[in-house]
């Protein structure tokens, strides 16, 4: 087994396109990041930035067509996932890597009892017989705070927060090494959101699971992650340790995100939002994707794509002006 600080998951130059009609949409463009055992990386960005696509391509569950992985390598514990056969991937999915989805209302099969849905995964990845699997599933339900006699109930009998707990139980049932959490609390009410977030955090610590957390909420990032990657128009535009990124954000987009937050601190009467809207993914700018909205835009930004620069150890930023005074 790998040591605690060894790189556990490595994503290199991931590239995914969607084809719709004759148009190609560059959904993910040369995305690279690393994750250490037991750690959490947050992918932050707005709707359509390509966060979910990144997660789904790690599991290789993107619908093809229209999605197509053009290139890149994904390595989990030294095993290259991208070169595995579809058969081998079946073992990885749910066994080694599990996923929690955004909308608990639609993520559960409405016609199956929640118990059966947890059991389904258990039978696939373990040598359990049916009884053992059921016992384990009941254990998982209790673990996420659902009485085990609700094992035989259907999803419609659960509230949104409860459903999300079921989804979490389902994901963690097979002790995965890596958890992909796709906006796990966005669809929930504030107080429920806090409960679910705490639950994920506790279970993750208990089993030393690594996690990729996808969110648009900087508050969730601050509370949950170790590393942060800011995603914009399919690219990682800033990548750093959480503390570093929150104290010293560098990319104008990241700065804009912070400026857009109606903060809980006193004082400001007007927000400093980012102008304009995210770019049309079928028609991305030639240069920096953020250039049309950037307050510091220069000619160079429009002409060519800036490279990722390491501005301080472990802090990367895709901006010409990064590290310089602005």
């Amino acid at each position: 087994m790998s040591k605690a600080d060894e790189v556990f998951l490595k994503v290199e130059d991931l590239e995914v396109i969607y084809t719709s009609g004759k148009k190609n949409v560059q959904a993910v463009n040369k995305v690279s990041f690393e994750l250490k055992k037991g750690q959490t990386i947050a992918l932050v960005g707005e709707t359509g930035a390509g966060k979910t696509t990144i997660a789904k391509s790690i599991l290789r569950i993107l619908p093809n067509p229209p999605a197509k992985m053009l290139g890149g390598r994904i390595t989990l514990e030294g095993r290259e996932l991208t070169s595995l056969s579809e058969e081998e991937m079946l073992d990885i999915r749910g066994g080694k890597i599990a996923m929690i989805f955004q909308d608990p209302m639609t993520a559960l099969n409405p016609l199956m009892t929640v118990g059966d849905q947890i059991v389904e995964g258990l039978l696939l990845h373990n040598d359990y017989d049916k009884d053992a699997a059921e016992n384990r599933a009941k254990e998982m339900l209790e673990l996420v705070g659902i009485p085990k006699d609700r094992f035989v109930e259907y999803p419609y009998q659960f509230s949104g927060g409860m459903k999300q707990r079921v989804v979490i139980a389902m994901a963690l049932a097979c002790n995965p090494l890596l958890l992909l959490a796709d906006e796990p609390t966005t669809a929930l009410d504030v107080t429920i959101q806090a409960q679910v977030l705490d639950l994920i955090r506790n279970l993750k610590e208990k089993y030393n699971t690594s996690m990729i957390l996808i969110t648009h909420d900087l508050g969730v990032v601050a509370e949950t992650s170790d590393t942060v990657a800011v995603v914009y128009a399919g690219e990682i535009i800033e990548y750093a340790d959480k503390r570093e990124l929150f104290i010293n954000p560098c990319h104008p987009y990241t700065n804009g995100l912070f400026g857009s937050l109606p903060g809980m601190t006193e004082g400001e009467s007007r927000l400093k939002p980012i102008a304009g809207s995210p770019p049309d993914p079928t028609d991305l700018p030639k240069g920096c994707a953020f250039a049309p909205r950037c307050p510091y835009v220069m000619d160079e930004c429009i002409e060519s794509k800036p490279d990722m620069k390491e501005i301080s150890p472990g802090h990367f930023c895709r901006c010409i002006k990064a590290g310089k005074e602005i």
Partner: protein
């Protein structure tokens, strides 16, 4: 005299399993040019409250008073006048615009129905003014809603609500469906419009940080009832009701140096259908005792700060 006064407003719905107390005995007032924030989780009746005030739904009981005039049960021509003074901005910019009507048509429609604009040229000039006011490019005039992104659609919704120069606008979660950067643009727009037109808002939301940013006064609702009401400053400085405290502490904080200590709630929101007489929050409240089973009264703790909890003296 406040612009709008709501007195003991009630809105009940008959449903299969009983009576849904969606809005139960709510009172507040809004001054001209001010914003009242209404906060609560889904199902607490905050949207119904807004819709009942502006007559999209008939009130079960209580009064709505606009400029000193009781408008709770107006009809016909009077209702038309009232609606011109009170407007609404919806949560979902996708379903709140008719997909078959062009942007221009949507903004122009209230103007036409008001009968104040006689000629086509006048109408066009006014729609132009509105589009400019909310920041929609002139070239989008002939576009259909599906051609616009969420932020622009929401601007169209705002233009439609502003068309008749209302005095009061219910903003029903207008930014919760939008991305953070767009959300900030829309919030700024709403605040700028308030500065220039002195319109009053009732801002309905589940997001305490948004409500703190935009409101002068805040009402916190739980299962159809008011649990706490105070000026924004007072509410955040001196939070009293356990539910408000839980709401506040549940928001994930961006401040990585001072992580918030969380007041965890048990269970989930219960049903507003045929609720018992006691405190509706008691089932989830960490401080609940047998006293909470009795009916709770909204008490004025300090000037303008109302709380509906019998135990605040003990727990604070």
């Amino acid at each position: 005299m406040p612009l709008l006064e709501v007195k003991n407003l009630k809105k009940y719905f008959k449903v299969a399993s009983g009576i849904n107390h969606a809005v139960d005995d709510i009172s507040f007032s809004v001054e001209k040019g001010e914003t009242l924030g209404v906060v609560g989780e889904s199902g607490c009746g905050k949207s119904t409250l807004g819709r009942t005030i502006i007559h999209l739904q008939e009130a079960t009981d209580g009064n709505v008073i606009l400029n000193g005039e009781d408008i709770t049960h107006v009809h016909g021509k009077k209702l038309k006048e009232v609606r011109e003074k009170m407007q609404i901005i919806f949560q979902d910019p996708y379903s709140s615009l008719n997909p078959r009507i062009r942007i221009e048509g949507t903004i122009e429609e209230p103007l036409r129905h008001s009968g104040k604009f006689k000629s086509k040229a006048e109408l066009k000039e006014e729609t132009n003014r509105l589009m400019e006011l909310v920041g929609i490019d002139e070239r989008l005039r002939n576009a259909y809603p599906h051609e616009l992104d969420g932020g622009r659609r929401q601007r169209v919704g705002i233009a439609r609500a502003l068309a008749l120069n209302p005095e009061f606008i219910v903003c029903d979660e207008p930014v919760s469906a939008l991305d953070v950067s767009i959300q900030a643009q829309v919030l700024n727009l709403l605040m700028d419009l308030q500065d220039s037109t002195k319109v009053s808002y009732m801002f309905v939301t589940h997001d305490l940080s948004v409500v703190k940013h935009i409101s002068d006064n805040i009402c916190v609702m739980y299962l159809g009832q008011l649990v706490e009401k105070a000026s924004t400053e007072e509410l955040f400085r001196n939070t009293l009701h356990p539910y408000t405290k839980a709401l506040l502490s549940a928001i994930p904080s961006v401040d990585i140096n001072n992580p918030m200590k969380r007041l965890e709630l048990k269970g989930e929101i219960t049903s507003p259908i045929d609720p018992g007489p006691g405190c509706r929050f008691a089932a989830r409240c960490p401080f609940a005792t047998s006293k909470c089973k009795e009916p709770q009264k909204l008490r004025e703790i300090s000037k303008g700060h109302f709380v509906s909890c019998c135990r605040i003296e003990e727990i604070n």
